[in-house]
Symmetry: C2
Subunit: 507 residues, 2 copies
């Protein structure tokens, strides 16, 4: 089902421009060797299979793998890596392909590695509050599993119904609850990783404190499959909040919504969720979900707090007052859990809803310090007007993580060029506000040319040294994170801010 959905998107891609790796580099002899490792049924080389794994959820990127392998355990992963290393065959680990930065497109061909057989929850340890999982576990299944034991795994990317934990770890996925609870990295306390030479290491453990050596766990989390293949993870859990309340606040002005966000935090309240949607997004969501949202407002905030009942009630009253002080036209509290769930589900469906409107949807995740939300939203609107493109904006206002989303059509090359220019300018605006080019989607192939804007040449150089040290032949997910050449920055707003990447001391 999900493959089909993505396949539809891919059809709109300008395949002839972007498809790569169509000439197979695998000999029959090599395929036999792979079959000996994982079993004949777990090696797929047909065109249909290869096509199905030639793209992810990112528009405009596609490349054919040479084979799709489904190992059954860590030992098999290690053997695959050793064989690939000996022949310099690229390996792209892949979860459910919900990636939005072309992080799982096999840009240089080679092997796509699936974890459909390595999808077990291995152990729940209630004394140490950890759960040990294989990479193929679906995020939502894990969340629901631990909730049965009154435990809580907070990271909740919008794709959590189909995304896998392995994919989340590789991308350091965020979600709606990031503001209060952090992101995936904050919950990974140990990993099993297959290295480029086939060695298997274990990092961390069921430990609240561990300073024995460099933090390899955090290094592998978010490394987008470019440093090693993650084959097992120990995740930390927290007690499940016993009570929650959800509220919507509607605004006639974007600025007032943004001011509310700042004001809530300045009042030392950290809501579990603090989501923002602009009018365009709201209209589309209402059309899609039909839950009675008003569509004549300029912005809406979706606010959830969780915790002990009395604390939540008191804080939600404070939040309601702050919303009103900031000129919310209307504030409505969900009357029960069902209504609250409907609201959150509608918010999570924003991408799907927008995707119905035009052939191509490009969802970005420029992120700024939360104090800069209003400025960033204004910048996005200005840029959209300048390039005459349609951009809806929603996202995690509480952590400054916005999702400007462009409704377009990849077949319209002239428009796509304007879209690309607009996004380049949006990334630049985010950087100038002290932000980053990606808050939770990753760099992948798509944002690699922009990475230098955030890290500077010197920062990229440090990353390259680490990549070369751990994967000297670049067999792990080649073409991702590191670009052949950086995009040139255009000085838009002038002033010293725009030279930031060149002069790191001036940030």
């Amino acid at each position: 089902m999900h493959i089909d959905l993505l396949a539809c998107t891919a059809l709109y891609c300008n395949v002839s421009t972007y498809i790569k790796g169509v000439g197979t580099i695998l000999t029959d002899q090599l395929i036999t060797l792979f079959e000996e490792i994982v079993g004949k049924e777990n090696v797929q080389t047909s065109s249909v299979h290869r096509l199905a794994y030639s793209y992810d959820a990112t528009a405009q990127f596609q490349a054919m793998p040479d084979a799709v392998l489904s190992p059954r355990n860590t030992k098999e992963v290690s053997e695959i890596v050793r064989l690939c290393q000996s022949k310099k065959i690229p390996i792209v680990p892949r979860g459910s392909g919900t990636n939005l930065a072309a992080g799982t497109v096999p840009s240089s061909g080679g092997i796509v590695l699936l974890f459909k057989h390595m999808n077990s929850i291995l152990e729940l340890d209630e004394e140490n509050l950890t759960v040990t999982v294989q990479p193929g576990v679906i995020t939502k299944d894990l969340i629901e599993y631990v909730e049965q034991f009154d435990l809580f795994y907070p990271p909740d990317p919008s794709s959590m119904k189909i995304s896998t934990i392995g994919g989340n770890i590789n991308e350091n996925s965020g979600g709606l609850r990031g503001l209060k609870y952090g992101v995936t990295r904050d919950y990974v306390c140990g990993l099993e990783v297959v290295l480029a030479n086939g060695d298997i290491i274990r990092t961390g453990g069921k430990l609240a404190k561990d300073v024995a050596g460099y933090d390899l766990t955090s290094l592998f989390v978010g490394s987008e499959g470019t440093l090693g293949i993650i084959t097992e993870a120990i995740l930390s859990l927290i007690p499940r909040p016993v009570y929650k309340e959800t509220m919507l606040a509607f605004y006639d002005s974007l600025e007032q919504a943004a001011e509310t966000v700042s004001s809530i935090i300045a009042n030392k309240i950290i809501p579990a969720t603090l989501e923002f949607m602009d009018q365009a997004t709201l209209e589309v969501i209402e059309e899609f979900a039909k839950i009675g949202l008003p569509t004549d407002v300029e912005a809406v905030l979706l606010i959830e707090q969780d915790g002990k009942e009395e604390s939540v009630k008191r804080e939600m009253e404070q939040i309601e007052q702050i919303c009103r002080e900031n000129y919310a036209r209307n504030v409505s509290v969900a009357k029960d859990e069902k209504e609250a769930e409907e609201l959150k589900t509608a918010r999570r469906a924003a991408l799907s809803a927008l995707a119905r409107k035009t052939p191509t949807t490009i969802l970005e995740d420029a992120t700024v310090p939360r104090s800069k939300i209003a400025e960033m939203v204004r910048a996005i609107r200005r840029i959209a007007t300048k390039y005459n493109v349609t951009i809806c904006t929603f996202g995690h206002a509480g952590d400054g993580n916005l999702h400007p989303t462009c409704l377009t059509d990849v077949r319209n090359m002239e428009e796509i060029e304007r879209v690309e220019q607009a996004f380049a300018e949006i990334f630049q605006a985010a950087i100038e506000l002290g932000g980053t080019i990606t808050g939770e989607h990753g760099v992948g192939e798509m944002k690699a040319p922009y990475l230098e804007w955030k890290l500077g040449k010197e920062g990229i150089e440090v990353m390259k040294k680490i990549k070369d040290a751990l994967d000297p032949t670049h067999i792990f997910n080649p073409g991702k994170v590191f670009a052949k050449s950086a995009k040139k920055r255009v000085v838009v707003s002038g002033g010293s801010d725009s030279t930031r990447a060149k002069d790191p001391s001036g940030i």
Copy 2:
């Protein structure tokens, strides 16, 4: 004052055995060049100054630096690094020297870098809940500064009165509040770092979410000065808890105290502090602090909860009941903040109190999953008896981070040998229980030979590759973290557990 205290300890060291680097490698010409960078008054080469920085708080380790430099800004640090790089001169960054793993001893001579001029709190950002600091800021000063704004910086190493934030970041320091609030790494969201080639990079930012590239911030945190020199940090803050309560529970049996710890967590309560002290520690603390602690019990738990008043009150009632169910002989709640502070200060003074008893105190921090606390305490007692050495145990029971502390005398070579054997066996016991050789003190020079027990050869190899990539000439804090040779493990308890480091898949 603090230097004097450490100097006294150092006097007991077998200096002739351990002192290194006494022959200076600095020519007059080089000293002049350093003076040109930082100013004449910030270059110290006298014997007195060099002796003062030849050791830290770790017994048995001492080595003379060739010069002590106090740069005034990042640019000067960068220039020092470039000069040292050109001449292959070691650089050891140093906070207040409270390190307990010989992490700041200049083992190969060279330059000790002090941050006494780089000790400013640069900015408090109330909207983004961050504070930007230089490395020389004293931890407690920072904590008290942000508390004025009702904000909270949780990491509270016991040495926080004199330790610096720079030292805390290099060591990824923990503390009493680690169970609920995490450790230093959890609060570092951005760094300015001088690299081995003198380049200056900035990692992270005031961002709740940022996946632009590898997590260099987490890599530098806890790298013990071996990868770069940290010159500035952005720390994230949280709202200050409005209310707290502190309680002591006394036990006639170690096991019952340990069972209480497990039981509190199993009841989904995460206290802010959950400290353990054995009878020996309690006696010494009472003798030192005279606050009326009973000394005829086998163990005591110091428990603090913070948060909203009503939640705290309810949880403390639950905790009290859990203590009683686990046969606490007596449970007493501190009647006010003053009494609570007295108790915590007494606990923090454990090391100082123990240090008064014998010429040498060796404080360790073997750490286990919290479910293994009782087993670990038993193992420590068994090992102390086996080697006929005096070991008191206290520590952060809630996060499995114990501090077995040996009262000894470095002049007694025969006893010291037994002490070393005992600690080696304690580290091994921790590893066998799924733990680590160091929870919060770091590896330094002292624990380097044991690191392979935790990480395996393959894990060490990954770290070495990163070290070589970022500091190819090893000018940054040489001799730390990486040992010339690993200690051989002795199979003590038999069984498959003890082969763990050799077979990472068997953890």
